[in-house]
């Protein structure tokens, strides 16, 4: 009886939160679906008309779509690779007992707390600028012509900025995992004659499999929607070189004022994210099973 009572009570108390969450998700989704089926252009008000799947056909056959899909995958993949390949050794270093370790840790984590817009501006104007940037100054010091990053290697530049932001996140997660590694296991490996490298390969890396999975999953979610860094630096260009799906949808909606097509694009992005999530969970998700 008591359990039935508590169940009813629990449901009653949960209802407002669940209802709010549902409304929060369902309303925008329903509106997006609705808009995606309309001809709806902000430059042509009052001409809204039902056009079926025309917006989807338009969005999917747009040559910009495949280019931006490819850009999205390149961006996500590169940033993931960089943050994990650099994050693991960084975490190992930060796990060592050194003087001022807590300050060093704080400084390593810091980039994660800088707003994407701000960090993009800093990178654009202070670091990568071909005339006044730090890298340009360094290049001229050694007699190399400075690279105009956002024109000559725009995607690389974007990847650098985003990786710089997400490296601390990966490092932090991996560092906490390293701290939970059993000391006696490492000592047992030492007794067994394992070198530092063998201990890393046979004990530490398997121990890190789960946090690496977490990093991949969480970063993927956020990296699929990178926007501010592109908006502030390259504006998706030159051409379509740095346009990803998120930026393409933005340009449909607020550069071409085509709300219908942008809504269709948004739904396509949801489907793509789900496909990626499906494969990710298949490939790396089994590490999460206890």
């Amino acid at each position: 009886m008591a359990t039935q009572q508590t169940q009813v009570l629990a449901r009653g108390l949960l209802t407002p939160a669940v209802a709010l969450l549902l409304v929060w998700m369902i309303v925008p989704l329903a509106m997006t679906i609705y808009f995606s089926l309309l001809h709806y252009n902000l430059l042509d008000p009052g001409s809204e008309a039902f056009v079926g799947l025309e917006n989807f056909r338009y969005f999917l056959t747009d040559p910009a779509f495949l280019a931006s899909l490819q850009n999205t995958l390149v961006l996500v993949g590169s940033v993931l690779a960089i943050t994990i390949v650099l994050g693991v050794p960084l975490a190992l270093l930060l796990d060592q007992p050194v003087l001022g370790r807590s300050i060093v840790r704080l400084m390593v984590i810091a980039p994660f707390f800088v707003m994407p817009t701000v960090s993009a501006l800093v990178w654009k104007n202070l670091l990568l600028h071909p005339v006044s940037g730090l890298l340009a100054w360094l290049s001229t010091l050694v007699g190399i012509t400075p690279i105009d990053w956002f024109n000559d290697a725009p995607m690389t530049a974007i990847i650098m900025i985003v990786a710089w932001q997400w490296l601390p996140f990966a490092t932090l997660i991996l560092l906490t995992a390293l701290q939970s590694q059993d000391e006696e296991q490492k000592e047992a490996a030492e007794m067994d004659g394992a070198s530092a490298l063998s201990t890393f390969l046979y004990l530490t890396l398997p121990h890190l499999a789960r946090p690496i999975t977490v990093v991949i999953l969480i970063e993927t979610i956020f990296l699929l929607t990178v926007f501010a860094e592109i908006f502030v630096t390259t504006g998706g260009g030159p051409g379509l070189q740095t346009t990803n799906i998120a930026f393409l949808i933005y340009s449909q909606a607020l550069i071409q004022y085509d709300v219908g097509s942008a809504s269709a694009g948004g739904l396509v992005a949801v489907v793509i994210a789900n496909i990626i999530a499906f494969f990710l969970v298949r490939v790396v998700g089994r590490n999460l099973e206890a």
Binding site: E184, Q185, A188, M191, D192, H207
Partner: protein, 334 residues
């Protein structure tokens, strides 16, 4: 061969002296137990032998060779940890084989040795399981398997049975002892449990506050404790200590008598007292007797003794089994 000698071994962490001048001679093939209360430095001493800690001073000889600057893996010892420290991502086979693999042995030889070790420890059906799929006792055996497969000069055990339940502990105690006798390999075993020490050891090292209090066979320690600490630590229930007039009569500052050497006597014989608690176990009866000025005395009687709380008793110590200690707590030998 596995003769381990400690000469003036000293270990400090900063200002704190953990081990003060330890001198020991552990004979090849013997089973030596380090026992002492927590914080006495017994685990540190074991880790010094293993090489997991560096000595502050002194020499550690294994088969006559000073190994103070030799890395742990090169000392030819293997260790069983308190938490077992199994590698969680490897199968039982992988765990046992890891040391051999690191030593670069050929595959066929590794397989043969692992199979032999698994057979010795009844682990053959579990070779392909992961540690988390094993029970506590099985994990314990994997940890031992990992130690024996390397055919070390000596085994080091760091409280290996403390995570097991009481029944399993008694069983593993016998298995470890039997295995050690069968392999005839030196074993150094750390425990805080004096029953484990008494039952398993050929020789016991009693440690207290970083000092070796006594080193001898279990019965030597029981019969001739070198000082008050050893006398109180070895034996269960604890030895009774009496000071004052009864001690003065025997020319000692303190006299000690074990509960099993106190006899329930006729009225008027020995020391009078009142039973405060009586524990009837069937096989034994433990009486906690308030002896007035003598303090609380524990008496162990064989079989059932029909006494209850509040009964008046007379206790007679066995004069041949009295231990006398001087004012510094050192034993007075006859």
């Amino acid at each position: 061969m596995g003769q381990i000698t400690l000469q003036g071994v000293h270990k400090s962490f900063g200002q704190l002296d953990i081990i003060k001048d330890a001198n020991l001679d552990i004979e090849d093939g013997s089973f030596v137990v380090f026992v002492g209360p927590s914080g006495c430095g017994k685990t540190t001493l074991l880790r010094l032998i293993a090489g997991l800690e560096d000595v502050t001073g002194g020499r550690i000889l294994i088969d006559g060779q000073n190994v103070v600057n030799v890395p742990p893996a090169k000392r030819g010892l293997s260790m069983v940890f308190q938490s077992y420290a199994l590698y969680p991502h490897m199968s039982v086979r992988g765990n046992i084989a890891f040391g051999l693999k690191m030593a670069g042995l050929p595959r066929a030889e590794i397989d043969r040795k692992v199979a032999a070790a698994a057979a010795t420890l009844n682990l053959t059906p579990y070779l392909d399981r992961k540690p988390r799929e094993l029970s506590g006792g099985q994990r314990q055996r994997v940890a031992i398997g990992r130690a024996i497969v390397r055919e070390p000069k000596a085994f080091l055990f760091d409280e290996p049975l403390s995570n097991l339940d009481a029944a399993l502990r008694v069983q593993m105690r016998m298995e470890v002892t039997r295995l050690q006798k069968q392999l005839a390999t030196t074993a150094v075993y750390v425990t805080h449990d004096q029953v484990e020490a008494m039952t398993m050891a050929d020789r016991i090292v009693v440690l207290n506050a970083g000092r070796v209090e006594q080193y001898g066979s279990p019965l030597e320690l029981y019969e001739q404790p070198a000082n008050l600490f050893v006398a109180g630590f070895i034996g269960s229930p604890k030895m009774n200590f009496v000071s004052g007039p009864p001690a003065d009569q025997l020319g000692a500052a303190t006299i000690g008598i074990r509960p099993e050497h106190l006899r329930i006597a006729q009225e008027g014989e020995g020391w009078p007292g009142t039973v405060s608690v009586a524990e009837h176990l069937g096989s034994d009866t433990f009486l906690y007797v308030d002896g007035g000025a003598l303090g609380l005395l524990t008496v162990r009687g064989i079989g059932e003794i029909h006494l209850k709380s509040g009964d008046r008793v007379w206790l007679s110590p066995d004069p041949a089994r009295l231990h006398r200690f001087d004012k510094d707590g050192m034993a007075i030998r006859h």
